[in-house]
Subunit: 370 residues, 2 copies
């Protein structure tokens, strides 16, 4: 706990320091938010005679927004009704709602060996036990673009997950940022009655809006809505109307084409910089998302490495926060390097700083106790 | 459950029908939201170079907003630091977070005999057992303005609650709408280490913004923040910045003076209409808030009464949803009549419709089985 606590403090200080090249945090590129279009959407929303943007709404969310979301899900090959959509505060609330619907306390939840940290901690707080074993009670998966690796599941892996017969929490938060174009169909398509599907506008229009959504099997819908109402009555009316108006008056798919191109380009720049400055490190080119999951060629104390890095003006997300079980002592250091919010012209300098810190940390390792 | 389900359907259909005079729902007056000032606040928020309105923020909320909230709490006589504030999605999330922090599953939570329905259902979903017994494990109270009665606790009741030595969830959601002027100090002042304090901007600036806050004893702060992060990472950045900018550039207290006067006037109009059209019904004049808690002089089936009322163009909140235990068969019918969102010139007509339906329902009662 002390270790994680130290990590959070370091990342907070890094995030508030403009001199630090921030490969940590998984933040979208602020300059790519469609601010002008969202401002127009706000003005239409706030101008409504019924003041719906500021008033209470029902727990499930606004009907026209739910209809637009259902249309977007249909584009991915899954026919759902507007009534099947529950608007949530981002993907995180959808994930925790789904876990609470499906869980028995003390049961296991099957996750990838490295996975999204805030899902892991939420599962643990709920009393679920994350495991990489295949015989878990529930599965949590990101089939199209995983976090942190940015990889997709291949056909065999999809078949295996579906054949397990388990309930699946399908976290599709990065699906709109699948670099090669529109993402393949979600698992939801093949197993409508066993999948709780999670989507979001956080990675594209802005996480500050907190607009995500959840689709659960119809038999669980009433209970999901009760949980949502118990938790916070409803998602933000203002943000819902902004997203609704944005989708009604803008070509979101054309925006996504440009956005994917932008992030794919940043990913290429980061990969080139890592290959150049840290040639012995390895990674798989991501198929989408915000980050590169890298594996070093040696092992050092990651908190010390982060501390030295932040001092040298670069940050990263330590690998251990993504792992379900503590890595064995002989495993090399891993980390997530997010390209998403680093300007292209700062990328090379950032990796150079990291490479310098890495080499001096490896060199000094033997000299002092950790 | 069928009864409650029927009630929700009736209230949904009433809410979407402009011909219905809506005494149900506890909605603030849409025409009193400071829309122009909130629009200016939005434009300042969205214009920030760092795009903070659309970006991720930390789980505790934005520091300048927390500082402003701490100042407002200090005006009520309680010195808290900005760091003590956790920004939540409205009061509801603050209540459920507090309950989860303090609860043992299966434990009792002491509530008033009639109280806020969404707190009751949230407690039950969490596995807490609401009770009006004084020896509960935790207490849930609204000391300044209760919902549904709009009453405050007197000095003796405050002393008794404080003397109990229990943890208290203090729901102060309506404190800014205490008609007689700034509200008395909260229980938090006398028991900083035993009170989880809940506040909100929902009743004043707009519930659609979902900006509330929670103050917990310092020993519970870290755990409260972890729960908040697990649940949905953070409160809406955009709404937080809007409220922050609004408070920085507007005289909120002057706005509240006008708002209290407005609601006090609506309360008077509603009381006059009830006295005129239903002279045998009783109520206590509310000290603040949105509603009037009325007790009829007879008992009828409340779902049938609501159904007939909606058909006749008037709605109300049935009393049973506010009660911790089912009322005895000989208890008269109760209901909450909200004056908050009914225009003054519709008030009399609404109560007249209710009176007509009431009389015909009482008259027909004996004739047919329910």
């Amino acid at each position: 706990m002390t270790g994680q606590h130290g990590v959070e403090e370091l990342l907070r200080s890094a995030a508030s320091d403009e001199r630090v090249v921030g490969f940590a945090g998984g933040l979208p590129a602020a300059e790519r938010f469609p601010r002008r279009a969202l401002t127009s959407a706000f003005l239409r929303a706030i101008g409504r005679r019924d003041a719906a943007a500021l008033q209470y709404a029902w727990p499930e969310g606004l009907a026209p927004l739910r209809a637009r979301i259902a249309e977007r899900v249909a584009q991915r090959g899954v026919v759902v009704a507007a009534d099947d959509i529950i608007v949530t505060n981002g993907a995180q609330q959808a994930i925790t709602l789904a876990a609470r619907l499906l869980m028995r306390r003390g049961a296991t939840i099957g996750v990838d060996a490295v996975t999204y940290p805030s899902a892991l901690t939420a599962f643990r707080t709920l009393g679920l036990v994350p495991t990489t074993a295949t015989r878990a009670s529930i599965l949590y998966r990101m089939p199209v673009v995983t976090n942190p690796q940015g990889a997709g599941m291949d056909a065999a892996a999809r078949r295996a997950v579906l054949a397990s017969g388990r309930f699946i929490i399908e976290d599709d938060a990065y699906a709109d940022l699948h670099f090669a174009g529109p993402a393949p169909p979600p698992l939801l398509k093949a197993a409508r009655n066993r999948v709780a599907y999670v989507g979001t506008f956080s990675k594209t229009l802005g996480p500050g809006l907190r607009v995500g959504f959840l689709i659960v099997p119809r038999s669980l819908q009433a209970r999901a809505l009760r949980h949502k109402a118990d938790d916070d009555l409803q998602a933000n009316s203002l943000s819902q109307l902004i997203v609704q108006e944005y989708l009604a008056h803008n070509d979101f798919d054309a925006f996504l084409v440009r956005l994917r191109r932008h992030y794919a380009q940043r990913a290429r720049r980061l990969m080139a910089a890592v290959r150049h400055h840290l040639p012995s490190w390895t990674f798989e080119p991501p198929a989408g998302g915000f980050g590169l999951w890298v594996r070093a060629d040696d092992r050092v104390d990651e908190v010390a490495l982060l501390r030295h890095s932040v001092r040298a003006g670069v940050s990263f997300d330590p690998g251990s926060s993504f792992t379900c079980v503590a890595p064995a002592a002989d495993q090399p250091t891993t980390m997530r390097l997010c390209f998403s919010s680093v300007a292209e012209d700062a990328m090379d300098e950032g990796v150079q700083r990291l490479a310098r810190v890495w080499r001096s940390t490896v060199r000094d390792r033997g000299r002092a106790p950790r």
